[in-house]
Symmetry: C2
Subunit: 207 residues, 2 copies
């Protein structure tokens, strides 16, 4: 099973403006991940997901328990500095990139040159567990447009950013889903859906 | 107190494409209001909010119980055909319009020529109860940008529309909120927030 989940603002941004190395979620975008770090944090100061608590932690642990491999985009990989150079999870991370030959000589990351290759490899490595498309936005859009996403979660931070990168920028596919559960903390509302599969997903409807 | 609430898709659209008279929520946009009508409905067939049920009904009744006047935009007023010519609520409806002289000679609707005038009149008429900015998008954007909205709710339908009118189109203000509760049905996730007032709200953040 393939799941996709990402944090957004109420106005649909996955970063504030001027995201880049050292400012991975953009200016003001730290608030998108208050739920990850148990409250306010800054790019400059130490922060750790060990401070995650309550409904946020329950949400996160529910995902960790089921996922056997993650797919991420090269942009996310670069903007985080490859998470400091080390895969921070206990499971393989497939990096979707136009330049698979850039793959570094470290364990935990595998570069893939196409979306299909990335998902197939992640599925193989995940075994009986699920694959998570963890973003950036382009990876999630590709998964939804291709109709391969089975479950879709949004962690909606209680902010309106007014600028940044939109999750659904340029996305013109119509997708039907079913809400299955929701969790809410002071820092996010986590909404989970199953995708009602059409084969293939249709374009946006018009007269 | 001034509240704002509106239905959107997961990708932030308040209508599908080609909205207009007889197709108020656009093509495919009927799904935005499955929660209002207790399930699937069409523009062509009879539909009534008396079929609303469960969490959707509880959500709606919670709003009805507190609101003493609504503010709507002229676009919404026109696209619904002024709700058939009669105010469908038991409370006054103020219509924000560039052409207040167009006001029809029917009770239940009052036209106002500016956002401030509309909100002031609604507040006066609501008495001790709250005012609801019920949309369209432009009315809600004006309220949020002006910093007058105290509580903000989104009824998020489980669809990705891929086209239509975006709630936050052109909105470039940064607003902080606090989640206070959430309700979920098969047709929508209703997320409610209080607005953390800044005075005035700031522009989107940049370096």
């Amino acid at each position: 099973m393939i799941i996709a989940n990402i944090s957004t603002s109420l106005d649909g941004y996955i970063t504030g403006p001027d995201d880049g190395p050292g400012c991975g979620l953009g200016v003001g975008g730290e608030r998108l991940h208050y739920w990850v770090f148990g409250g306010p944090w800054t790019y400059a100061d130490e922060h750790s997901s060990s401070a995650m608590a309550g409904e946020d932690k329950a949400f996160y642990e529910g995902i960790v328990a089921r996922v056997g491999a993650v797919v991420t985009g090269r942009g996310t990989y670069d903007v985080t500095g490859a998470w400091g150079g080390t895969n921070p999870w206990d499971i393989p991370c497939i990096v979707l990139t136009h330049h698979p030959d850039d793959q570094p000589d470290v364990s935990g990351f595998e570069f893939a040159g196409s979306f299909e290759e990335a998902v197939n490899r992640a599925t193989e490595l995940a075994g009986t567990r699920d694959v998570s498309l963890m973003g950036g936005a382009e990876v999630i859009r590709q998964g939804l447009a291709a109709g391969v996403v089975d479950e879709f979660g949004l962690s909606i931070a209680p902010i309106i950013l007014g600028a940044g990168k939109r999750l659904f920028e340029g996305f013109d596919t119509d997708v039907d889903l079913t809400p299955v559960w929701v969790r809410q903390s002071p820092y996010a509302t986590h909404v989970w859906h199953t995708v009602n599969h059409q084969d293939p997903p249709g374009p946006a409807r018009t007269r």
